[in-house]
Structure formats: C-alpha cells, structure tokens
Amino acid sequence: MLGEGIIKGMLETAKNFAGSFVSADRLTTVEYPEQRIPTAENARVFPFLVYDGAGWEAGLRCVACQICEKECPPKCIYIEKSKDKKPDFVGKMQIYPVRFDIDISVCMSCQICVEVCPFEAIKMDTQFELATDDRFGGLLMDRQQLAKSNEYYHSIHPAEAAEVDARLAQEKTAAEAKAKAAAEAAAAKAAADAAKAAAAKPETPAAGGN
C-alpha cells in the first residue's frame, strides 16, 4: 500500500514522543547553566602547572627543561629559564622557569605536554568555562595563573593524582637512599683517605694532598 512506510515512520516518531514523557533514557539533554552533567574523570581542557606545599612559586615542580615547549604541536608554550637554582621536591638544586606562558587561544588540548613531562609538573585541567572578551591578554596565561596546587589536582583527577604521588614518593625515597648511600660512601672514602694520608704522611708528605 502506498504510504505504508510513511505511517510506519510516523508511528516510530509518535512512540519516541510519548516515550519521552515516561522514560528518562529518552531525555538526553539538560538545561545547561542550571543543570550540569559532571565531566568525565580524565576529561582534558587546558594544561596547568602543579605545585607542592603552600607557596606556588617555591613549590612549582617545573624545572624549565623545555621538553614540552619543543614537543607542543601548535607551539603555544613559552619558557624562560632562571639563572639561579632552587631545591626541587627531593632537595636537588634545579633551575626553574622565570617565565612560563601558555597561549590558550592557540592550545589544542592534545595532552602531549603532559605525556612528555618527566617531572609530573604539567597536567590537564577540567575547567572549560573560560570565555573572555579580551582576546589577547585574557587568553595568555602566565605561570601564576597556571599554577594550581597538588590538592586541586587530586580533586579533579583523583586516581591519576594518587598514582603520580606514589611514583614521586618512590622517586624521593630512592633519591634519599641514594643520597644516604653516597654520603656514607663519601664518609667511608674520606675516612679511608684520611687513614691512608696518615699512614703515608711520615714518608712522603706531598702525597697527602692528592
């Protein structure tokens, strides 16, 4: 019969229309600013810099190695290295970025900076409501704007942050053990050297200086 297919299609539409009043599955949209669907746990928007402790400037994990700057596909990161050094989380003296800018109007949220960072210093944020009427300055983030605490990182990506913390703690204990061993070895060596020097002194006084 001509028109049978159309009637069949219309019945399908009617079923969906009526179904939307009884079945929550058929209602897929929400009234956005008032209602929100929570973002997925590993959703990514723009990168931020992680810092430990209370002070953002002292606690920045970034050591200005510039790997992310080189690997960034659209080249939206700009880093200037410091002249002096400050201790990092294991206490080793490292340089730090005096400037770390990300132009988020250029950034394409690809997460490659996060993947290549060997220091767990840069992570992806989930904050997406960043619209501004200032097209240039407003979208150029400096390191103060980018710095977010480790607690914040834990609050947006709990599983990933716990993993990162465990890895960093492991690195720290390893570094401490290594430093301790090195110190012990150095002490032992110094003692041996002193003993050797004391033994050698009577015969050849000049040898002690070597």
Binding site: G9, E71, P73, M108
Partner: protein, 390 residues
C-alpha cells in the same frame, strides 16, 4: 592570467562544451552553491550550470579549509602530528589516529600488543557506527526530513562520544593511539559501559530503519538518482561505502588484513544499483556488521600490556625508508604515506583522504539530475571538509 583572477571563464575547462546538451531554449544559469550553503557540510562550493532545473555542468571548488596539515607535519616530530590527524576527519578521529599509527609502526617496525589491537578495533567500529549514523542523519536532513532522523542519530552518537570522553579525555579530538599501542588502558567499568551501549545499538538501527527505509518519499527521491557505475567507481579509485554501493566487493579490512580483522566474522554489504538509496542501505547494513564485530571483540578482549615495551614516545629516528599505512576508515580508504630520511621529522608526509577522492566523481553523478538532487547526491558521498582540504 593572474592567479587571483578566479572568474569562471578564465579557469581551464570551464568553457568546454556542456557534457549534456541544453535543449537550446534560453541561456544557461550559473549558480554558485556554497561556500555558505547549509548542505555543504562546511565550506565547499559547487559552481553549477543549469538548463532549467537540469544540471549540465558542475565544478567543485574547495580549499577554504586548507590548514597546511602535510607541511606542518614535515616540520614537527612524528608524535606532534598525531593530534593534527584528529582534525582531518573530525567525525572519526580514532580511525585517523589508527591509520597514522599504522604507517609509523610500519616505518619503525613496531609490534602492537594483543590488547591494544582489540582496543583499536573496538574504538574504530564505534567510530564507524557513529559516523554512519550521523551521515545518514545529515543526508535525510538535506532531503527535508528536518530534525527527527538527525536527532535520533545524534542521540546515539552522544552515547558513543561519552564513551570516548571517559576513555580518551576528549569527545572528538581523541588523540588516543600511539606508535606501538594506545595511550591509556581501558578499565573494567569502561568495558561494561561499552557492552551496555553496544547492546542498545541493534534496537537503534531497527528504529532508524523503521523510521525511514520503507518511506515512499525517501525511495522516490533516492532510487535511481546519482547512479555511479562500478567501472567509473573503480577507475576513479573511489573507496568505502560508495564503492561497495556500486557493487564492487572491496573492503580493506578484508583485503589488507591490517590489525586483527582476520579474527572476526563479518560480511561486506554490497549495493546493486549504485544510487543514493544503495549508499544509504550499505551504511545501515555496515552498522549492523560493526555491531557484530564489536560483540566479538568485547567478548574476546584479552589482558596484558597496551604498549610495545620497545616503543619510544619521543625522540625516535626511523631509519631512512618509506611506509604506507592504510585502513578502512568509515568514509573509505584512509592512507598515510611517510618517507623518512633518518631525522626526527618525516621527510614527506602525505595523506590519502577518502573524502577528497570520493568527491572527484561528483560531476559525473550529478549531470542530468535536478538541482535539488545535487544536494542529495553530495550528501550521499559523505565527506568532511577538514579531510578534503587538509
């Protein structure tokens, strides 16, 4: 003639005699459809010469969305091109990732672990389903079925995109695959959610078919319109659902044995007439086959690592040589051709985009048809301008 002078009469070939003879009454009417025509899926222009309602000439004009992808890729490392491939065909970023990863893996000689292969198949088939669903939705939207089919398609696409987001972190620009594996492992809850979505897909396809497949208006508009003969399709190197709708049995999943597609049982749907209705039907049937592949893959997925332990993320220099990786993307054969000269950047990086090459027969399909059908024929080709212009 200056390059800036783009008046049609100065372009080579524009003044050739019409392929179809006008009936001799009155003049031809030249219409520029696009680049801001709602049916052009982006920015694409068709310069159409009309004799009354009939199309006697059609010239596609594209390049409005050119972003220099290939040249940018030659200036950056292999890894840095991966997120750019998402932006070729932005409906199917995961298939694009796979094609590029395949080319680099061939170049470097990396093995992909079992689990990663399964993850890739699952993601590629989910991509195919959502691409075909939205393509059909857009096609019907252009036919005048405004809203309903497209909304149904997008409701289903939404579920698949949510899966992508929870796995890769992004809904469309996934940037998920890496050379030698995948970036993050799938979790148990994710697989459970995927099984749930896949279990709901057959009902969706049934509903979609009940809505439209036997609709008389759809049949009247689609059957016998925009016919593409198999000989022309093969000679113009058309690929994907368009080629199969013309009756040519050529599916790269079957002929090239890439990934682990050998292990899955699926059929390749073929059309008979090569018209718009066949292209529509081939896509519907492909969705059903994809659901079958997904069910098998989700059942068999093994444990284990997801990255080749030898794979390096950055700083690798492939030996001098060349490689071509190709996959059956939802739109056709997507290939990446790479030449390495031993440096960290590719010496040559070439994309074989299915959208562009499927578009080359547009004029042959449109000649002699009504101008209203041009929009339909164009929609049935299934292109994304990001891939056409690159």
């Amino acid at each position: 003639m200056s390059l800036l002078d783009t008046k049609p009469e100065h372009i080579e070939g524009w003044n050739r005699p019409p392929v179809i003879e006008p009936d001799g009454e009155g003049e031809l009417l030249e219409v520029a459809m696009g680049p801001h025509h709602p049916s052009t899926h982006g920015v694409f222009r068709m310069d159409v010469a009309l004799d009354g309602e009939r199309v006697v000439r059609l010239k596609p004009v594209f390049g409005y969305l050119h972003r220099n992808h290939e040249k940018i890729a030659e200036g950056t490392t292999y890894l840095a091109s991966m997120p750019y491939t998402d932006r070729l065909d932005y409906f199917c970023s995961l298939s694009n990732n796979w094609a590029y990863a395949l080319a680099v893996e061939k170049l470097v000689g990396q093995e992909v672990p079992e689990r990663a292969q399964y993850i890739r198949v699952i993601l590629a088939e989910l991509t195919r389903i959502q691409n075909h669903a939205s393509t059909i939705g857009f096609l019907l939207q252009e036919m005048g079925a405004s809203g309903t089919p497209l909304m149904y398609a997008f409701r289903e696409r939404e579920k698949i995109l949510d899966l992508f987001e929870s796995l890769t972190g992004s809904r469309m620009m996934c940037n998920y695959m890496r050379f030698g594996g995948c970036r993050v492992d799938v979790s148990g809850p994710w697989l459970a959610a995927t099984r749930k979505v896949v279990a709901g897909l057959p009902a969706f396809v049934d509903e979609f078919e009940a809505l439209l497949s036997s609709n008389e208006i759809l049949m009247a508009r689609c059957q016998g319109v925009g016919v593409l003969k198999p000989a022309l399709a093969v000679n113009a190197s058309i690929s994907g659902p368009m080629l199969r709708a013309s009756g040519v049995n050529y599916d790269i999943r079957k002929v090239d044995h890439y990934g682990i597609y050998d292990r899955f049982k699926f059929r390749v749907p073929l059309g008979d007439h090569g018209d718009i209705y066949d292209r529509y039907m081939v896509r519907v049937l492909e969705m059903r086959e994809s659901i079958g592949i997904l069910n098998q893959a989700l059942k068999e997925i093994p444990g284990g690592p997801i990255m080749d332990p030898k794979a390096k993320l950055r700083g690798f220099r492939p030996k001098a040589g060349e490689a071509y990786g190709r996959i059956e993307a939802p739109k056709g054969e997507l290939g990446f051709y790479l030449i390495s000269d031993g440096s960290p950047n590719p010496y040559r990086y070439r994309v074989r985009p299915p959208s562009l090459i499927n578009l080359t027969v547009l004029e042959d399909m449109c000649l002699g048809q009504n101008v209203a059908d041009v929009v339909l024929i164009f929609g049935s080709v299934d292109i994304v301008l990001g891939e056409v212009d690159r």
